[in-house]
């Protein structure tokens, strides 16, 4: 047994108040990429889709999802390609993520369905709603509405600082992608690393996430996230393109923004967003709350979501 494991704690002793693992798991074949799908609630209830952000996974809805399921929804979420228990794909891209999402919707119901999406998931679902407005009945986006600033959790969806050094570093990353491995560590160490991206979330929650979003190898725990995925943005996409299209969206929209800046936050300011919001939409600024609004304030966000869905 390695030192890393010897120092570790028993993952079966870790829980989090209100967290509940999904009632069902299934797989969707999205053009050859196997997408892991989680469901909470009765299969006969109307479906409600939850979409996670970049570097997260469906298990980050283990508190929020059950709150909605207990109110009569069949809550469906999935791990994006390369995240959680979904396949590590050969290629990653924005359009591919949107296509995978549509595969999950199609595997569940062919008619319009409500969607709640966080961060990168919000951007993905905004694009899906823009392309197929009859496919989404209502869309709630939690700190993932467009902003003139590039988003930190999207790989190829915006133009960042593209000087020679940045381009060279991206190419260097691609050269190492074949052999890259996530660094192993104890459960505590992985929770420490995640705390840098989720500084406002409780320690107990971060340790709970390790037991779902990481795997236990002989030399320690590793996050399941494909190390080939590199966040920080690289490519021609400009965030203002999404912003320009937002006002034309033909789907009932409820947007929620954070007010406390943090590492993974989008920095979207409600005041700067209001002129772009479509007619009849709702925008709520959550006071004293960081990027992971549904994790910091799950009961309040669930209540607001249920009101919107009703």
């Amino acid at each position: 047994m390695t030192q890393a494991i010897a120092e570790d704690i028993d993952p079966f002793t870790i829980s989090y108040p209100g967290a509940r693992r999904p009632d069902r798991h299934r797989w969707v074949n999205s053009y050859g990429v196997h997408i892991h799908v989680c469901e909470w609630g009765q299969i006969s209830d109307p479906p409600l889709f939850l979409v996670h952000g970049g570097s997260d996974f469906a298990g980050t809805f283990d508190v929020f999802g059950p709150l909605l399921a207990d109110e009569g929804w069949r809550v469906v979420s999935w791990d994006h390609r390369g995240h959680g228990d979904s396949d590590h794909a050969t290629l990653y891209g924005w359009d591919a993520d949107v296509r995978d999402g549509l595969s999950v919707l199609d595997s569940t119901r062919p008619d319009p369905v409500p969607v709640i999406a966080h961060s990168k998931g919000g951007g993905m679902m905004l694009q899906l709603a823009d392309a197929l407005p009859r496919r989404i009945s209502r869309l709630m986006i939690i700190d993932g509405l467009p902003t003139p600033q590039p988003a930190p959790d999207i790989t190829n969806h915006e133009q960042r600082r593209m000087d020679e050094k940045a381009v060279g570093e991206w190419l260097d990353h691609r050269r190492k992608a074949a052999s890259a491995q996530r660094k192993p560590g104890t459960l505590h160490e992985l929770a420490d690393r995640r705390a840098k991206m989720n500084p406002r979330l409780p320690r107990q929650w971060l340790e709970y996430l390790v037991t779902i979003g990481a795997r236990r190898d002989p030399d320690g725990w590793r996050w399941k996230l494909d190390p080939a995925i590199r966040f920080g943005g690289f490519g021609p996409w400009r965030p203002e393109w999404s912003l320009k299209r937002l006002s034309q969206l033909d789907v009932p929209l409820f947007g929620m923004t954070a007010t406390v800046a943090e590492e993974m936050g989008w920095g979207t300011k409600a005041d700067s967003l209001r002129p772009y919001m479509p007619r009849g939409s709702k925008l709520l600024e959550m006071e004293e709350t960081g990027h992971f609004i549904h994790i910091e304030r799950p009961h309040e966000v669930a209540r607001l979501a249920l009101e919107f869905l009703s």
Partner: protein, 215 residues
């Protein structure tokens, strides 16, 4: 002779079309195409070896499941080949021309001149997204990958973004004009790139003769 180089989870076919001494010439094919089986006449005058790379999902390179193609990933394909062969001059056709521009800016010390020629996939998807669509197609187990054709035929190529890569090449390559345009088609991005001091319009023979003698 062909070897395979690794880029992420993809095995890329890198073909030596003609052996020789000196800096190689690397050919990048057009969208939906593959490397030629032998040295094409139009580059026969190149003094060194001639090589050709099959992009991801093309030719003898592996075909990924579920798409996710971008021109930037294909730039990574070329960089994987550069890691193997070192300094090279590049001739790109169609999509390969756009990728040649990107890698000339991305690795200006390794790309000793890039020649951009006409071919399939030269135009791309323009400066800004039009009506949004969810692109999908049916998979198949042989090249070219239909996902590559669907996604790379309309990948966005903002003119200023393309011009930025030309400037990177001009700034750090040490070559007077490291980008030569042979193509006659003029998508917006190429029209804009041509305004950069690092870029010159030239016949293929002339461009190759000039790059053959740069350090």
């Amino acid at each position: 002779m062909s070897i395979f180089v690794t880029h992420g989870k993809v095995k890329l076919a890198l073909h030596t079309l003609r052996n020789g001494r000196g800096r190689p010439l690397l050919l990048l094919h057009a969208l939906g195409e593959a490397s030629p089986p032998e040295t094409p006449d139009y580059v026969a005058a190149w003094p060194g070896p001639v090589m050709a790379l099959d992009f991801t999902g093309h030719g003898q390179s592996s075909i990924p499941h579920g798409g996710g193609y971008t021109a930037e990933i294909l730039m990574g394909d070329v960089d994987a080949a550069l890691a193997m062969i070192g300094k090279t001059t590049i001739v790109g056709q169609g999509l390969g021309a756009y990728v040649a521009l990107l890698i000339a800016g991305g690795r200006p010390q390794l790309v000793r001149g890039a020649v951009l020629c006409d071919g399939s996939g030269l135009t791309g998807g323009g400066d800004e997204p039009g009506p949004v669509v969810v692109r999908a197609t049916t998979e198949r187990d042989h090249a070219p990958d239909p996902f590559a054709q669907v996604e790379l035929a309309e990948d966005l190529r903002p003119s200023e973004y393309a011009a930025h890569f030309a400037r990177l090449a001009g700034r750090s390559s040490g070559i007077d004009q490291p980008i030569s345009i042979v193509a006659k088609t003029r998508p917006d991005w190429l029209t804009r790139v041509l305004e950069e001091p690092a870029v010159v319009e030239a016949p293929l023979d002339e461009a190759l003769a000039r790059y053959a003698v740069v350090e």
